[in-house]
Amino acid sequence: MEVLNLELTDNTPKVVLDPVNHALEFEGDSRPEDVQKFFQPIMDWLNDYEAYSKSAGDISLNANFKLEYFNSSSAKYIMDIILKLGKIAEPPNVTLNINWHYDEMDEDMLDAGEEFEDMLDVEFNFVVIPD
């Protein structure tokens, strides 16, 4: 499997999906012009990774969300990503760590993480970024 690497822009987050180190990272603002076009390759990658992870032995999968902002149409896709991570972690060989980073001054981002955690029944570690 290949690494998926998307550069940070003003309106899209930096995305690094690394199958070798089992490390996923999302960082920055997410308000793409075409949400589907932006997120579909990420969903495709995760689907491939789901199949790949089943035969990859014991895996500790680390997902870091360092989002500063996401618009309401990105929210749906972020939810789908987290749902998919939960599915990937269903087999006993996969341990999942989701780290949800939020700015100390940004309780909306903390709330959003808590909502996803609660809604999707996936455990998050909350990491505060001091102001």
Binding site: R31, S73, K76
Partner: protein, 181 residues
């Protein structure tokens, strides 16, 4: 334009409350440029950082809404992809006011959606957000139908609106969101 009008505009712009005014065609490229610019501008308000962050979030939804829902111009119509917005500051927070031309047939549905959101308290908004995101499919205009709920949640205030009759089966829709600190 009357000579007095330009003075009115000048006075409005210099009374210290107006941070940003824009009028023009709301295509995506422009909205993106405005948002990037205003994000930097808002980050200068150190003493109102919390409100400034919320204001940026509300502004994204407002401007993306204009971009998505503005009545599409045809050869017969002029000025119909235009919108206007102002960003104002008050003692404790900020206000975002946006206006654009819509089809008159959309007035009732927009109005009822805003009224519905305005009737909800913070807990109800949260519940509705959950329901909506769970069954959301991205509509053909690119939204997930969460925009108004999101604006109300982030701003902590009621959404103020107005519809004024415009030309040729069109209305001018004004939305004001006050962001409390």
């Amino acid at each position: 334009m009357e000579a007095q009008s330009i003075l009115d505009i000048f006075n409005l712009m210099t009374d210290g409350k107006v941070i940003y005014v824009f009028h023009g065609e709301f295509n995506y490229k422009l909205v993106n440029t405005l948002l990037t610019d205003i994000k930097k501008e808002l980050s200068l308000y150190e003493e109102k950082k919390r409100a400034a962050k919320k204001t940026y979030k509300v502004l994204v939804e407002c401007l993306e809404n204009i971009h998505r829902h503005t009545s599409k111009p045809t050869i017969m119509d002029e000025h119909l992809n235009e919108g206007v917005f102002t960003l104002l500051q008050n003692e404790t927070g900020f206000s975002v006011v946006v206006g654009n031309v819509i089809q008159s047939s959309e007035v009732e549905s927009i109005k009822s959606r805003i009224e519905e959101v305005n009737l909800m308290d913070a807990d109800m908004l949260k519940l509705r957000y959950r329901e909506m995101i769970k069954r959301a499919t991205i509509s053909d205009k690119g939204g997930a139908g969460l925009g108004l709920i999101d604006m109300a949640m982030k701003s902590g205030s009621q959404l103020k609106y107005n519809f004024d009759k415009h030309i040729n089966e069109k209305h001018f829709f004004t939305l004001r969101v006050d962001i409390l600190a």
